[in-house]
């Protein structure tokens, strides 16, 4: 589904990703872990198509298409979703209206029908069962005045409504207390499906107590330096990232 090969990315003149490769199949849950500054968020942004991220080498294929040639909104319509580490506030724009516009733009781009407000409301009610979100957040402006936890839950709620094929969660666990973390994880787990893949970017192992990954990758200095199953995350938690770095020379390229 997603095939990243030898990806090099420069941001503001600095090379951040230095030959990253990663393959994700439908239905899989991948965790990308790594120390601060390793390039984790850059990976999320470059996949979603953020302007200012210059790909100097390598390829990214999504469902057989060249993802790097597509505009951010085209990627969204193709089924790529990025849950932001810092969700953006849009004053005065109603949260529900925003989401309906987004969904309809995607449906239209895929050649489908747009939903009218009644149909959309019905969908929202269904999805609210999956993700606990107080209804008044739906009627407030997008992320405006939301608490950190509310913003993150709102991201997952958007994901539930937009039903992407590939969801990238950029440090969705950061800044969450344990209850909010659990709610977010429950929301993500409820959305796991055979035709949907996840790339969960996180600094800490604790999210993976609730979301069990099929594969865990360690990202350090712009490339994946180690991959393994869920057990790798446990080892990281026990030994810290320094442990990977020490092992790295012996097992580089593994």
């Amino acid at each position: 589904m997603l095939k990243i090969d030898n990806l090099h990315v420069r941001v503001a003149g600095r090379e951040i990703l230095k030959g990253l490769s990663l393959a994700v199949q439908p239905g899989e849950m991948h965790a990308v872990m790594g120390p601060n500054g390793a390039g984790k968020s850059t990976l999320g942004h470059v996949l979603a198509g953020r302007p200012g991220y210059e790909v100097t080498q390598g390829t990214v294929e999504f469902d057989g298409r060249n993802l790097l040639e597509m505009a951010p909104e085209q990627r969204a319509a193709a089924g790529v979703f990025l849950a932001f580490q810092y969700p953006v506030e849009i004053p005065g724009v109603n949260n529900t209206y925003f989401l309906r516009t987004a969904l309809n733009a995607q449906r239209k781009a895929r050649g489908g029908d747009e939903l009218d407000s009644m149909q959309f409301l019905k969908l929202v009610r269904e999805k609210l069962k999956v993700m606990q979100l107080s209804p008044d957040l739906l009627n407030r402006a997008v992320n405006e005045g939301f608490s950190g936890g509310e913003k993150k839950r709102n991201e997952i709620f958007q994901m539930a409504v937009l039903e992407p094929r590939l969801a990238i969660l950029d440090e969705t666990d950061s800044g969450l207390d344990i209850d909010a973390l659990r709610q977010v994880a429950e929301g993500v787990n409820a959305l796991r499906a055979p035709d949907r893949a996840f790339v969960v970017i996180t600094h800490y192992q604790r999210l993976l107590d609730y979301i069990v990954p099929d594969r865990v990758h360690v990202l350090a200095d712009g490339r994946i330096v180690e991959s393994g199953d869920a057990g790798l995350a446990q080892q990281l938690e026990a030994h810290g990232y320094a442990w990977v770095r020490e092992r790295q020379p012996a097992e580089a390229g593994a």
Partner: protein, 479 residues
């Protein structure tokens, strides 16, 4: 996926949708301004002698005045002798059925809800085409409750005493350069009278259109709400595309007696000129409301997207005790448009309140100035004002400026002023796009959110229109 300047430039050259010319024979006075021209104009309109004299007095006063220079506007000197002060479609219609079908087509193109459509929409429309009022719908229904809604020309002929009593009582003939000019040469406009205790049963609406070349439009509107009356009035404006600058100098006077409430909304979409700043309407307007009675209220709401230059400050004189003045404004400037707009709130009575919400949007090389005066007179005990003034910048070549003037002569007054300037951030754009919303739609959505507080004040169907207008006006504005 950096920005693509080529595409943006291409989108910038979008066309002005209301920019067509209707081919109708018109009866125009030759260009030029002097006492004879004013007499000829007055005669053409079959006005009583007092009206002719009133005009001439205004003209003589105007001769002694100079155009104002304090606004932050760049404009070429206006040659007042090159303008024709009267242009009317030939064959004046007696009823809607006799209105030239081409004229009705024009209004249809503009989306004006005329004729039966008007009644369905619950809107009574007075349409002013160049200088004369051509159709006025739903009049009978209004007459049943004693509401007068007609063209100013007709009001001068049929309701002379009322007009004479109130005309110039809010904006005196010599108030300012453009008001004096208007008083001398105003050609038509709307007259509204809501008698004591009557709540006007429908929205009243006027559409203004400048069609003929080398003409100016000088309409005059007078709205009187007697004790306890209520009226909501909306005006819309368009003009064809022309290379020359055309002058529009209107005067609007509102009078609210005790407990009366007047809500006045404007959607102004005069031709703004092209992307190089050629052509466009010079919009110099004096609008003022007088809260003459206790507990009266006047609300101005304006959405200004058109005109090469907008110079306008809808104001409230809060004379009655506990009277309330409100001003909600969205002003958008794109390409080379300039706007110097705001309001004046003059607190005279006790316990008077005013609220100002101004949203300025600048794109392209647009320049947008908010200029507002809050004045609290010595006798205005416990006056309150809250002003909120936000500017949104799109692109790197535009400007936003704020000129608040505050004069307080009573120590019990509370006057608050808040101002912000922001840009549509890259983060906001990327957030919208990552959810599947294209660039243009993202910009209009963010702008719409920015204007929400003002759009809420507009009657429902016009809020939709205003939103669309902003979308069209902003096409290709990102960069």
């Amino acid at each position: 996926m950096a920005t693509r300047p080529g595409e943006i430039e291409a989108a910038l050259s979008r066309r002005y949708a209301a920019g067509f010319v209707t081919d109708i024979e018109s009866d125009s006075l030759p260009p030029g301004l002097n006492e004879d021209a004013i007499r000829a104009l007055s005669a053409r309109k079959q006005e009583p002698a007092w009206m002719t004299e009133w005009r001439l007095a205004a003209y003589r006063h105007w001769l002694t005045m100079a155009p104002p220079r304090w606004a932050k506007l760049r404009l070429a000197p206006i040659d007042f002798q090159a303008i024709s002060y009267y242009s009317a479609p030939k064959n004046r219609p007696q009823s809607l059925d006799e209105v030239d079908p081409r004229l009705l087509e024009t209004y249809e193109k503009l989306g004006v809800p005329l004729h039966e459509r008007a009644r369905l929409a619950g809107v009574a429309v007075d349409a002013v085409f160049d200088s004369v009022s051509v159709a006025n719908t739903a009049r009978e229904e209004l007459a049943k409750v004693g509401v007068i809604f007609c063209s100013m020309s007709e009001a001068i002929r049929e309701h002379g005493e009322l007009v004479r009593q109130y005309l110039g009582s809010v904006v005196p003939r010599g108030d300012n350069f453009f008001a004096a000019l208007n008083s001398a040469v105003f050609s038509d406009g709307s007259f509204v009278f809501i008698p004591k205790g009557v709540r006007c049963p429908m929205e009243l609406s006027t559409y203004f259109r400048i069609n003929a070349g080398h003409t100016g439009q000088f309409e005059r509107t007078l709205i009187i709400a007697e004790e306890g009356a209520y009226v909501s009035y909306l005006e819309g404006c368009t003009a064809p595309m022309r290379d020359e600058n055309q002058l529009h100098a209107a005067v609007v006077e509102l009078v609210a007696l005790e407990r009366a409430h007047i809500k006045y909304s404007t959607v102004q979409n005069w031709y703004p000129g092209d992307e190089h700043g050629r052509g466009g309407i010079y919009n110099f307007v004096t609008k003022r409301g007088d809260c003459r009675g206790n507990d009266s209220r006047i609300s101005w709401t304006q959405v200004e997207t058109g005109s090469a230059i907008t110079w306008k400050y809808p104001s409230c004189i809060l004379r009655g005790d506990r009277s309330v003045g409100e001003f909600h404004s969205v002003a958008l400037t794109h390409h080379w448009q300039q706007a110097d707009t705001g309001t004046k709130m003059i607190h005279v009575g006790r316990d008077t309140k005013s609220k100002i919400v101004s949203k300025g949007i600048s794109a392209g090389h647009g320049q947008n100035s908010y200029r507002g005066l809050v004045k609290v007179e010595a006798g205005a005990e416990n006056a309150r004002n809250h002003t909120r003034c936000d500017s949104l910048l799109i692109g790197k070549h535009c400007g936003a400026h704020t000129f608040p003037y505050i004069e307080v002569k009573n120590p019990t007054a509370i006057v608050e002023h808040e101002a912000t300037t922001s840009r549509i951030s890259d983060d906001q754009m990327f957030y919208c796009r990552s959810r599947g919303i294209g660039e243009e739609d993202a910009v209009s959505m963010i702008v719409d959110g920015f204007c929400r507080q003002v759009f809420r004040e507009l009657p429902m169907e016009f809020a939709v229109e205003a939103k669309k207008l902003l979308e069209v006006s902003l096409e290709g504005a990102i960069g």
